[in-house]
């Protein structure tokens, strides 16, 4: 793609005028002044449409009976480049593995989404959500219950046949 350069021609020194230049500048600003189209977004009332592949706050998918889908395979803490996931697995009477402790430190997380990509049972997801302000720092370590409570939409994984998600 070539870059187009707009050449600004300076007026002839004999013909230019500060007052005229100032008045034409004021005409320009006046057009913007009365133009009702503004770029400001009234944020809390007007929300941004997040991209389908936006990677934000995590959530843990749950079964119909309320158990987490996680099978404590240990792939996500292994793949996590920021080492922000703490997982302690356990086993119940039927031999099903489940997470005893599952914590994600949202401050350490770099939101790469590799936990979601690597999960074999589609349990952990990053989501289309970013409003997670808190009053204390320790509130940013999300435990299993908190991850299961999240109800925002999950992130769409990248599809090589549709690289721009169109």
């Amino acid at each position: 793609m070539s870059i187009s350069v707009k050449l600004m021609r300076r007026p002839e020194p004999e013909k230019n005028s500060y007052l005229r230049a100032a008045l034409s500048g004021m005409a320009l600003t006046f057009r913007h002044l009365v133009n009702p189209a503004k770029v400001t977004q009234q944020y809390p009332e007007e929300q941004t449409d997040l991209h389908p592949r936006w990677r934000g706050t995590h959530r843990m998918e749950v079964h119909a009976d309320g158990r987490p889908k996680c099978v404590a395979c240990g792939l996500c803490p292994t793949v996590c480049p920021a080492n922000c996931i703490r997982l302690v697995g356990g086993e119940d009477d039927q031999g099903n593995r489940y997470p005893v402790v599952y914590e994600i430190d949202e401050f350490r997380c770099i939101f790469c989404g590799m936990c979601q990509e690597v999960c074999p049972v589609e349990a952990i997801h990053v989501g289309r959500h970013f409003e997670n302000a808190e009053y204390t720092r320790d509130r940013f370590v999300y435990d299993l219950d908190r991850l299961m409570e999240q109800d925002h939409p999950t992130t769409l994984l990248w599809d090589p046949s549709d690289p721009r998600s169109e």
């Binding site: 300076r10 007026p11 020194p13 004999e14 013909k15 230019n16 005028s17 500060y18 007052l19 005229r20 230049a21 100032a22 500048g25 004021m26 320009l28 600003t29 006046f30 913007h32 002044l33 009365v34 133009n35 189209a37 503004k38 770029v39 400001t40 009234q42």
Partner: protein, 429 residues
């Protein structure tokens, strides 16, 4: 008719107190809402929305700002000159708020106790009082800048003093043209003469208006002349070290000065509270409130009414607000001049222009008086044509071909003007 006597006795004192409180409160209110207007208009010009959270349409924003400034910590630099540091904001804000006293803001109001002039103090020195008091305002800036013990603040203060002194000359001389025409320095008389001339002085004195407007921008330290503040060069200029309410007094002074000079532009050049037509004309002449003179020289009595007062006040407010908006509009359009450009424009362009124009107007007035032209439409029309020619000459000979260029465009030449003739090369010398 005893109803048309000016108020006297106890009613006079009550009227004075009411007017003082109303004008002071009004100016404070205008100052507060000009800060909001500045933020809103600048936002609109930049395709933003501006503050709209506090109250409906952000209308309570000035109150929130005021509370914030009162509650903020007052800092006192360790090595400042404490007395002058405290004195600076007071000296800046005090003259700014008392200048409005001599500006008439509506037609005289008839009451049961007599006619009340809609002006706080109709002092005989009028405009001279404004010039004298506004020059005091610069002491606040210089003292605040110097006592901060901060190099940027000091530079800002020095620039303020140099700029105010330079432009006061051009400002005063452009006002002299008005005074020559009005024949008096009281602002009520200036308004009355504009009513009698059937011309607002902006037309017969168009060049004086241009010079006055440019000088007033410089006097109030507004862009493109905000050298004392110059936030891109001097951090925040003279008020770098101030915080809280002491800081807020400097912007308050600036906006109060803006309001006064906007009102002054309206009064000197756009008829003050005068509205088109002769129905609202009223001024005191030998103890009688008259609206003008008949063809045979006899007086025509004025008929003041409350609705006339209110309507003329609305007209005055509209003119003042218009010039306030122009102030804001210009600020968010034009870039700041360089310091040497400001000085050169003041001394080399505006001062000679104003001086020559005063002589031209004085000569023209003398000629018209000698020819026996009556003060009225013909008089004003002749001066309008003459001033139109002078303004055209100013635009052709002074403005055209002399655009203020950047240092790069003039090839390192440290002169604000680039003449139409080929630029002399200093490089080879």
């Amino acid at each position: 008719m005893d109803a048309l006597q000016p108020v006297s006795g106890t009613a006079l004192y009550i009227a004075i107190v009411v007017k003082v409180l109303a004008v002071f409160g009004g100016v404070l209110l205008v100052v507060a809402y000009t800060t909001l207007a500045e933020r809103r208009v600048s936002a609109w010009i930049q395709d933003r929305t501006g503050p709209n959270r506090v109250g409906p349409f952000g209308l309570l924003q000035p109150i929130a700002d005021g509370l914030k400034n009162i509650l903020k910590e007052e800092t006192l630099p360790a090595k400042s000159a404490k007395l002058f540091f405290l004195l600076g904001p007071m000296l800046a804000v005090f003259p700014a708020f008392i200048t409005f006293a001599v500006i008439p803001f509506a037609a005289p109001m008839p009451t049961r106790w007599g006619v009340v002039d809609m002006i706080v103090a109709d002092v005989p020195v009028g405009i001279l009082y404004i010039l004298a008091i506004t020059s005091l305002g610069v002491y606040g800036l210089v003292l605040g800048g110097w006592s901060s013990n901060n190099k940027y603040a000091l530079l800002g203060g020095m620039r303020a003093s140099a700029q105010m002194v330079s432009y006061e000359v051009a400002l005063g001389l452009s006002v002299v043209a008005v005074l020559v025409l009005a024949g008096n320095v009281t602002l009520t008389e200036v308004v009355a003469q504009q009513q009698q001339l059937h011309f607002w002085f902006a037309f017969p004195l168009s060049l004086a208006f241009i010079v006055f407007m440019a000088s007033a921008f410089a006097e109030t330290n507004r862009l493109p002349f905000d050298m004392p503040e110059a936030e891109s060069e001097l951090v925040a200029g003279y008020h770098t070290e101030y915080s809280g309410m002491k800081y807020a007094m400097f912007p308050m002074a600036e906006y109060a000065n803006m309001t006064t000079s906007a009102a002054l532009m309206a009064t000197l050049f756009f008829g003050g509270w005068d509205l088109p037509g002769s129905w609202d004309n009223a001024f005191w002449y030998h103890g009688q409130l008259i609206s003008g003179f008949a063809a045979d020289g006899s007086v025509m009595l004025a008929h003041p009414a409350l609705w006339k007062t209110l309507l003329t006040f609305a007209g005055f407010a509209l003119k003042t607000v218009f010039f306030l908006v122009v102030y804001i509009w210009v600020r968010w359009t034009l870039p700041r001049f360089r310091y040497d450009q400001v000085m050169a424009l003041g001394w080399k362009v505006l001062l000679p222009t104003a001086l020559g124009y005063v002589m031209l107007i004085a000569a023209a007035t003398l000629v018209l008086d000698q020819l026996g032209v009556r003060w009225g439409f013909t008089y004003g029309f002749a001066l309008t044509v003459l001033s139109g020619l002078a303004t055209a000459a100013f635009l052709v000979f002074v403005d055209r071909g002399h655009t203020i260029f950047g240092a790069a465009a003039t090839g390192g030449q440290r002169d604000i003007v680039r003449r139409g003739a080929p630029t002399p090369s200093h490089v080879g010398d």
